[in-house]
Assembly symmetry: C2
């Protein structure tokens, strides 16, 4: 489980018919009746506010929580990995070797992290929908809707000073304004070694039982001082006992449970196979790059890990979709909804949109390269800034400027050789997608092979240099028009096609939004209002029980222990990814082997939930989500709790390791205070 | 360089306009004038016969030579690898650890090797073409032509007792009958450790300078005695000096130098990207399987290596095709040929065939699994055997029966867990190719997920057992009709689609054959008769000079030395694939460090040439081809000798290693005697 690397986010959709412990619930529409009935739990406003305000979103793609009054933030090592790599150098390999700041001066500032705390939610559906008139063409409707959303966001930001996002829920059935407090001064306090954080490596990933200390601790600062945090989670080291009710408060990235049969068929037969081809391609590319030596392996490791993780997740998702029964049931249930809607036209619209998406597969106007992405943003930004904020492409609006600039001007290292390998591959893929005879391909390659062309482009760009990026950004349209930078010139060549495709895609998205809004209303009228929307990388509450399961006739217990990690190491002959760090072996005698290490629960989670706090009835911290087992990989489309489980690090293991393995008593004592 | 794993062989084509040391020449049409002019070499009939008869084809995909009167055969370790893996067990890892039979009793019989010695060549073009009447539809023409070829082959086999293949040359411009002596009792004598055979691993593959002892020695037997060999190669350990003329006699698998611009565009935009997606998919699949443990890694290693090798080769080939100039030049040269032909209709036919091939991409009637392949062969064979030999699909004719049965009834181990992983992936790929809603997909999956279905199929098949295969084969059509074997039943479901696609493909092949025959005649009339046909995995002679080259401003010398291998190991920190075997370190003091190890020459080679002897003017053995450098990977489409080089093991290194590293003096003394 991990930030949604390479996933092309779909429009936000929704899901209903919650069964068992299913559901990723909105904080302003929690399943109070179900919780009372099944678990005899009373949801109070105070409890809800406390949990919401103690929850943290990593804008880079992950979840976390405040765990002290002086700004400590607990997340996963793999959510932190991007930052750990950026803070690493060939001399100081923090990502592999870990880090511990024993004094505030040693806390290392992350180059480009943005953390969000959800302060308030407001329903703005009427205001958004009022902007769209009956019978408007989809392109026009999309623009009007975007402009209304931008206006609401800008007004909110102006009034509150908070980051303000209008979130599309239920695939377009509802629009809510989310206001966030932003933290952009985020410093690394402590990270363990990669060997314990990702113990068992790719082989154990998505498996259970597990033995991973997949956690890292940051601290947020304001005005160069540790931020004062009112709502933080106290730790309950005795918590997370079997059968106990727990909650997961985090930001699931994307589910697609509302999809119609035809939309699922598009996913199954077109999008997912293509994404998997892409992931495998990039995986092999980075593996080959890593053969260049240990430094290359280090540079590519974080991205490679993310790709392997996604590849494994997508393989499981596709397997679920290819099982014939699932889509058949969707087809059957559509009939009842069409009766409720009085028409099947929404379903037909969605089917037609899938056909158009297939046609668009042979077009592309962009390259998946970090440096090219910077060039593209600079070119687009100059043009977009000529428009009023509401008319711009979403990411270039004033309300998003701070986040955009933090990414664009990040001092994080870019490696010339890695960029060259990736850009060459992207140029080749561009030629494959559009066909080598395509005139845009010919312009892009300029008579060279992809590899030659990539070398040439990188030799003639200044964009490795943050100052050069800032200078170009400041110079606006004339800066772009006069730039001799090879990557900027390339982005200018592609700009018209990029914009044409973006427009087409946004029209299709709008058609789907309107259709899913119709389906949503049909579901509301057929099945009542107690439903949750598909995940949208916004704060949700899931719940469930700490609970083992059966697999191949064996009972899998709910939790593992610290002692089990050493046994697991021995069982794998202390080879490959099953080697615990030296610090663990040194501390083995001191450790309480019976301390719970990882545990599973039935809560409904998905990528983006990584780092989410697991919370008990009293609102105390009992664990940190870091994975789902392989049986949970269908979660994109449906929740299954026969065997599907969320996997978390037990808080007792975190405290025990800080104390006995990492000599971090000073840090340990701040937690929960 | 390696057997053409996973390559979907195209019909045999041709090439002309030889430049430099270009050309893979027919033994009955050698470039005598060029050799005289450039190298002052007189080709004699005696020399030619000797070289041809000393050359050996590994029917599994590779080349070799006889090197003693008592049946010793020298090839590459990687050509032998398939057999080495089949002879290995968890207890006796020959593939990794090597082998040396110090007595005849210890020589290990390969389970399914067939070696061929080319005895005679006869032009049968007129006889083949006489079977096709003017104006016949392509399907009918293809059948008539196949029947004529089968008749010629059968007659030849009946008269001579030799394996008899009619080979399609110049894409259909000529047909030659090749008669082979077959050796099917082939025993392993000696193999080095994988660590020296593939020193540097995937990272060094297709690179130069290299330091690989990529050789293995077999012995052929007749009547349970070492075969008596008249024509074998003597070793010349002083040979292969810089600038020296050398010859390569081997079986290049497939080149496509005749392809028209439109056919190349199909390769560039459709076939190669798809093949690369497939290779990367299988590479990841086998990597994941290998994570299961050392025994899994061993089981999957040979196939994984072959796939990595092909992936690297195809990536280089596609890069060549994506360089805009190459196809443009093809387009320009077509005009002159169309004038000579008096029409562009052949080119138009070829262009139209490519469109039909694109349409066929979304159909498939087979699965790439070893066990499924056996089921498919058994089902097809029963039906085909109802026809007269000449009417059957090519591989089921009487003339090919011995080779077919050797493969079908091979006792080589099949691993249940590996088969399951591969079959599950093939079922998923089948669903992706045809779309999950396709009725054939639904039949094949039978309501299960690909993984569940694969487990079920393998639980209900007897085909792991060779005796069960033989019993089914003996029972003919009624055996197949009544079989309860799950894989046989699956193959029966797919049989109609397999046959339909085969027919369609053979029609397209015939259209291309006729069109390329027309283009061939135009080339002959425009440019004279001194041309060589595209590679067809039949015996060819290439020539060139031992010669270094320049790369990134550096001089790359023609040969490396044994001492250099130890330096290369040190330079890579003795890690990963850069660890020489212990036997080498033990013998280091005894070895002459200045002995040439690997060397390069300008000869025109490609996959299938692996194991080819490199021969000097006197017909003596100076080396064994095992790779081409990365710059030679365009060879599928054009020969380039600016930097492109064939890479060989120097015979001096083989002799030195046998003597000093492997204590194999008894074997060493047989070589050349």
């Amino acid at each position: 489980m991990r930030k949604l690397s390479l996933s092309l986010l779909l429009p936000a959709l929704f899901c209903i018919n919650a069964h068992g412990d299913e559901g990723m619930w909105l904080f302003n529409a929690l399943p109070t009746a179900q919780l009372k009935q099944k678990y005899d739990f009373d949801v109070t406003q105070e409890w809800t506010n406390h949990v919401r305000l103690a929850s943290v979103r990593f804008n880079s793609g992950g979840s976390a929580s405040f765990i002290s009054s002086n700004g400590l933030v607990l997340t996963n090592h793999h959510v932190a990995a991007d930052t750990l790599y950026k803070l690493s150098t060939p001399q100081r390999n923090i990502a592999d070797e870990g880090y511990y700041a024993t004094s505030p001066e040693q806390e290392l500032k992350a180059p480009d992290l943005e953390l969000n705390q959800l302060v308030a939610i407001r329903d703005v559906t009427e205001e958004v929908n009022a902007s769209v008139q009956e019978g408007m063409p989809a392109g026009e409707a999309s623009k009007a809707r975007q402009a209304a959303m931008a206006r609401i966001e800008q007004q909110s930001k102006d009034e509150s000073g908070l980051r303000s996002d209008v979130v599309t829920l239920y695939g377009g059935g509802r629009y809510h304004l989310y206001q966030y407090k932003q933290y952009t001064d985020v410093r690394l306090v402590w990270a363990p070694e990669a060997k314990t954080a990702f113990f068992g490596g790719d082989a154990d990933n998505f498996e259970y039982p597990r033995f991973c200390l997949d956690v890292t601790i940051f601290r947020v600062y304001e005005n160069n001082q540790p931020a004062k945090i009112e709502h933080f989670l106290e730790a309950n080291p005795n918590g997370a006992q079997a059968e106990e009710l727990v909650f997961v408060s985090g930001n699931p990235g994307r589910t697609q449970r509302i999809l119609t049969a035809e939309a699922l068929e598009y996913q199954r037969d077109h999008r997912m196979p293509r994404v998997l081809d892409l992931l495998r391609r990039k995986e092999i590319l980075l593996q080959q790059y890593a053969l260049g030596g240990p430094e290359q392996a280090r540079r590519g490791h974080d991205e490679l890990f993310g790709i392997q993780n996604s590849r494994k997740a997508y393989t499981g998702m596709l397997e679920g979709l290819q099982t014939p029964g699932f889509i058949n049931r969707k087809q059957e249930s559509a009939a009842a909804l069409q009766a409720a809607a009085g028409s099947d036209s929404a379903w037909k619209t969605i089917a037609a949109v899938q056909q158009k998406r297939i046609e668009l597969q042979s077009r592309t106007g962009s390259l998946r390269s970090q440096l090219y992405g910077i060039a593209e943003d600079l070119v687009l930004m100059a043009a977009e800034d000529q428009l009023s904020s509401g008319e711009r492409l979403r990411e270039f609006r004033d309300s998003n400027r701070q986040s955009l600039e933090q990414a664009l001007f990040s001092p994080a290292p870019l490696y010339d050789d890695l960029e060259r390998v990736q850009l060459a591959d992207e140029l080749a893929r561009f030629a494959e997608t559009r066909g080598g005879s395509d005139s845009l391909v010919q312009q892009v390659l300029a008579g060279k092979s992809p590899r030659q062309r990539a070398s040439e482009l990188l030799a003639d760009t200044q964009l490795f240099d943050v100052a050069a990026r800032k200078k170009l950004a400041a110079a606006g349209t004339s800066g772009i028009a006069n730039s001799q930078d090879a990557l900027i010139q390339l982005a200018k060549i592609l700009e018209p096609e990029y914009r044409a495709l973006r427009t087409l895609t946004e029209e299709l998205d709008e058609q789907e939004r309107q259709a899913y809004a119709t389906i949503t209303e049909a579901k509301f009228s057929a099945e009542g209002e107690s439903v949750y929307p598909d995940a949208t990388f916004t704060l949700r509450l899931a719940y469930g029980a700490v609970k083992g399961y059966q697999e191949d006739g064996q009972d899998i217990p709910a939790n593992t222990t610290l002692g089990g990690a050493f046994e697991h190491e021995t069982a794998h002959g202390k080879t490959d990814d099953w080697i615990l760090p030296e610090s663990w072996h040194a501390a083995r005698e001191q450790l309480d082997a019976s301390t719970p290490f990882n545990f599973v629960c039935t809560a409904d989670i998905i990528g983006g939930n990584s780092g989410s706090p697991v919370i008990d009835r009293e609102g105390k911290l009992v664990g940190v989500i870091f994975d789902g087992n392989i049986q949970s990989l269908t979660a994109d489309f449906y929740h299954s709790e026969t065997q599907g489980r969320a996997v978390a690090v037990h808080i007792a293991a975190v405290l025990e390791a800080l104390d006995k393995v990492y000599d971090a008593q000073a840090l340990r004592q701040q937690i929960g205070h």
